[in-house]
């Protein structure tokens, strides 16, 4: 544990990351697919008689596209950086040290994307037709390369493949088992989003129903590749997932948190159903284009956003309890350290760099246990809140629960001594107005254990007789 834990109230670090990421993922995919849309629309407009009209419409599309992707897309992208630094500094550090030049290369694509887009947009009235087509195509190609790169790092976190801390083989980590299916799914989804954005901009065409229908039908076609192929690719992706993820999914983690971890199952289906709704909605739009309103179009985009939310939470939960599967737990415990029994059983605060000097077996002791060991994933009263989740804790239940923390499947193993567990249990009990001290928790627990052991002994003797 190298870094301080950001105890952001209510949301907690992990939900801050999730919120920013969910917004960013939709926009960034749209930013790439939209490039292909511009390119094809440019070429198409050269071939048809009312091309000038199409290009005028395209200018509207580009204005929306430019502001939306550069303001919200680029900034939420930077925002993900800010948030992961705060929520998981240790993991961010690992990713950065392993992939910094991949990211630097990705940055080249950012600069390229932006500059080309500006040349395209600001040169609207002065560039030649050939130049406009070239710029649109170049934009798409460059933008797609940014996906090509970031996809390696994103999939690495869930399926690091043959990469290990020792071999540090960047190529193995980058082109990991999840890489290809994920790249293909994302590429198709990008086209889909571009189509939805196209439909939305087409609804601004007011007094030319024919033209509006034409543009809506043109845009709707962009949804077809995803509608046909994403289901197949999802099966492939599924086959690359770690076994533990599939187990979570299948079990729906019955019993944990009152079944709350069915979350992973529910989020998966949220993504699937949203996808299906988008396809259905687009089909209806293509069938009756004149009836499509702005509100319909924006609803389709919102449903897509909900789908992304499902997919992102699925991805996040699929990794639990790790940030980097099999390598680093979400609370910055290294997997290889977790196997070192002696380390795990040391008094936790003695090697926690960021704990102040606290009196052992006090409330403060328990509070810092919570802050440093649980707060990366839990808040007290907001996201994944522990106050309600520990409502029924008794001394013995708490101490035992903590001892078996990892057996829940979604949490890392507990680090620390019996005293640490008692102090933490006492802290949670205090949150509910129960002022049992850590020492009293320990006593009760030990007495119960002793009684149990005696009872066991007694029954053993009984049986022997």
């Amino acid at each position: 544990m190298n870094y301080p834990v950001w105890n952001f109230p209510i949301l907690g670090g992990s939900l801050v990351v999730a919120i920013i990421a969910i917004i960013h993922v939709l926009i960034s995919h749209l930013a790439i697919g939209g490039g292909a849309f511009l390119a094809i629309a440019e070429i198409w407009s050269n071939k048809i008689s009312d091309g000038e009209k199409v290009r005028k419409w395209l200018h509207k599309f580009t204005t929306f596209f430019l502001v939306y992707t550069t303001v919200f897309g680029a900034i939420t992208g930077v925002g993900i950086w800010f948030s992961i630094q705060l929520a998981s500094p240790e993991a961010t550090s690992l990713l950065i040290h392993q992939f910094v030049f991949a990211w630097a290369t990705e940055w080249v694509t950012f600069i390229g994307e932006l500059t080309v887009l500006y040349l395209y947009y600001y040169g609207w009235n002065s560039n030649s037709r050939g130049m406009q087509v070239f710029l649109a195509v170049a934009y798409f190609v460059i933008a797609w390369f940014s996906l090509f790169i970031i996809n390696g790092i994103l999939t690495f976190m869930l399926t690091p493949g043959a990469w290990t801390l020792d071999n540090k083989e960047i190529a193995w980590g980058f082109f990991n088992p999840g890489y290809t299916p994920s790249l293909l799914i994302r590429t198709l989804i990008m086209f889909l989003l571009a189509g939805l954005a196209g439909i939305m901009i087409a609804t601004f065409i007011k007094d030319d129903d024919e033209f509006k229908s034409k543009m809506i039908r043109f845009s709707a076609k962009w949804v077809i590749p995803a509608a046909v192929l994403v289901p197949v690719l999802t099966v492939w992706y599924w086959l690359t997932l770690p076994e533990s993820t599939l187990k979570f999914y299948e079990a729906g983690i019955v019993g944990v948190a009152g079944g709350k971890m069915e979350g992973i199952t529910r989020f998966f289906w949220l993504a699937v159903i949203s996808g299906a709704l988008v396809v259905l909605g687009t089909s209806i739009a293509a069938w009756k284009p004149k009836t499509v309103h702005f509100s319909t179009a924006i609803s389709l985009l919102l449903i897509a956003q909900v789908g992304f939310m499902g997919a992102e939470f699925f991805r996040e939960m699929a990794r639990k309890p790790y940030v980097i599967k099999g390598v680093l737990y979400s609370n910055a415990l290294w997997a290889h350290k977790a196997e070192d029994k002696a380390y795990m059983n040391e008094p936790y605060l003695s090697h926690a760099k960021w704990a102040p000097k606290v009196q052992p077996m006090t409330l403060e002791h328990g509070e810092w246990m919570f802050r440093l060991q649980c707060a990366t994933c839990h808040t007290l009263d907001g996201y994944r809140s522990l106050t309600p989740r520990t409502e029924n804790w008794t001394p013995s239940f708490g101490v035992r629960f903590l001892e078996n923390l990892h057996e829940q499947g979604v949490m890392p193993p507990f680090q620390g001594t019996l005293q640490d567990r008692a102090a933490l249990t006492s802290y949670f009990m205090h949150l509910h107005g129960n002022d049992t001290s850590p020492g009293a928790v320990l006593d009760t627990y030990e007495k119960e254990e002793k009684a149990k052991a005696e009872a066991m002994n007694a029954s053993m003797k009984e049986a022997q007789k």
Binding site: V16, S93, F101
Partner: protein, 382 residues
């Protein structure tokens, strides 16, 4: 006891409790010197873009308040969103490299001021969004426009302040423990840091300098392409602002020097920092001379040389800034402590893509600009 001894004593006393993270197990992907160079260049471009955008915004607000319509506001309104976009994008590589080089310090300080650090994100959207709103909404009432621009300006100034808080805190590990334990939610700034405000002033005041030089060039080009004197008020405004900015920067630099711990300053001046400082000052003088000549003679080339020298000047000062950081951190951390696991293959891919990318962008930009300039000339030909 004199203050520097006091500080030394304080540091010695708190050192036992400094929660310094150990360096990342993966080590550096290339020798630190290369990371430094990459960081200086890209951070230099970031600072130029920050200063252009912030300064441009100040000029724009000024023209709106004074209700002067000299063409500067038209240029600024349409170019500030671009400036913002590049300031963000050019911030990315130094953000990568600072994490590689100084991750232990940078992550720690970011978490300690976490609530403010994450606030940068909505502030960026606000500042940037307002610039587009200003550009795209043509029919806004003057006062509404001032509000829009004012929000953007305030947001930018706040972001800069948060940055200075984070970076100064990242250089003073002795302060961490107390701050973190008092407020683990991170809703605090680096109060108590003696250099904070002077440093902030030093980073913000070049805004007028950089944007002023840009306005000089824009004014000259405008007159030239139109074949009239339409650009004169623009380059005069830029000239004045540039000089005011220089004076303000000098004052801020003096203030910073007076707040720096003396032994740090001495160490800096005993090393290569001195050389870079002298180069920086020299380049600053030269660049301002060029800008003045450009404004006098309406010489585009002088203006361009002045701006190029200014970029080099900023890079020199960035090196000095980094040496100072190493002096602050000397007793906690040295580059030599971190192992290097080389990734030359990845560096090759990066360099190749960078060269290819830049070449393509330059060719395209020249082409597009040529047709845009031709069109501009055509539409303004009397």
């Amino acid at each position: 006891m004199n203050p520097s001894h006091l500080i030394a004593a304080l540091i010695a006393q708190t050192q036992a409790q400094v929660p310094l993270p150990s360096p990342d197990p993966l080590g550096y992907p290339v020798p630190a010197i290369l990371l430094q160079i990459l960081s200086y260049f890209t951070l230099g471009l970031h600072f130029i873009a920050v200063n252009f955008t912030l300064g441009g915004l100040i000029y724009l607000v000024w023209t709106k308040i004074r209700k002067v319509d000299n063409g500067a506001s038209e240029f600024l309104s349409s170019s500030l969103p671009l400036g913002f976009s590049y300031l963000v994008t050019l911030g990315i590589p130094p953000l990568l490299f600072v994490q590689v080089m100084y991750g232990q310090m940078f992550y720690s300080s970011s978490v300690i001021i976490g609530a403010f650090w994450i606030l940068v994100v909505p502030l960026l959207i606000l500042a940037y969004g307002m610039l587009y709103l200003n550009k795209l909404k043509k029919d806004t009432r003057p006062n509404t426009r001032l509000v829009i621009l004012g929000i953007s300006l305030l947001a930018m100034l706040t972001i800069g302040f948060i940055y200075v808080n984070n970076l100064t805190l990242s250089m003073t590990p002795g302060m961490w423990m107390e701050k973190y334990t008092a407020n683990p939610a991170g809703s605090q700034l680096n109060h108590g840091e003696p250099t904070l405000f002077a440093r902030y002033a030093l980073f913000m005041s070049p805004a007028l300098v950089v944007a002023g030089a840009a306005l000089v060039l824009v004014g000259i080009l405008r007159s030239k392409w139109r074949g009239d004197d339409a650009g004169v008020p623009i380059h005069e405004l830029g000239m004045k602002g540039h000089l005011i900015g220089r004076v303000a920067t000098l004052a801020a630099a003096g203030a910073l020097i007076s707040t720096l711990p003396k032994e740090f300053l001495d160490t800096l001046m005993a090393g290569p920092g001195k050389l870079f400082l002298i180069f920086g000052v020299g380049l600053a003088a030269l660049s301002t001379a060029m800008v003045v000549v450009a404004a006098q003679k309406k010489g585009t080339v002088f203006g361009i040389i002045g701006i190029v020298l200014m970029v080099l000047e900023v890079i020199m000062f960035i090196a000095v800034r980094d040496f100072l950081r190493q002096i602050y951190l000397a007793e906690f951390f040295k580059f030599e402590d971190v192992p290097v696991h080389e990734q030359w293959g990845m560096v090759g891919i990066f360099v190749a893509s960078m060269v290819a990318g830049l070449a393509l962008l330059i060719v395209l930009t020249v082409k597009v600009s040529k047709s845009a300039i031709a069109r501009y000339k055509e539409s303004h030909a009397a």
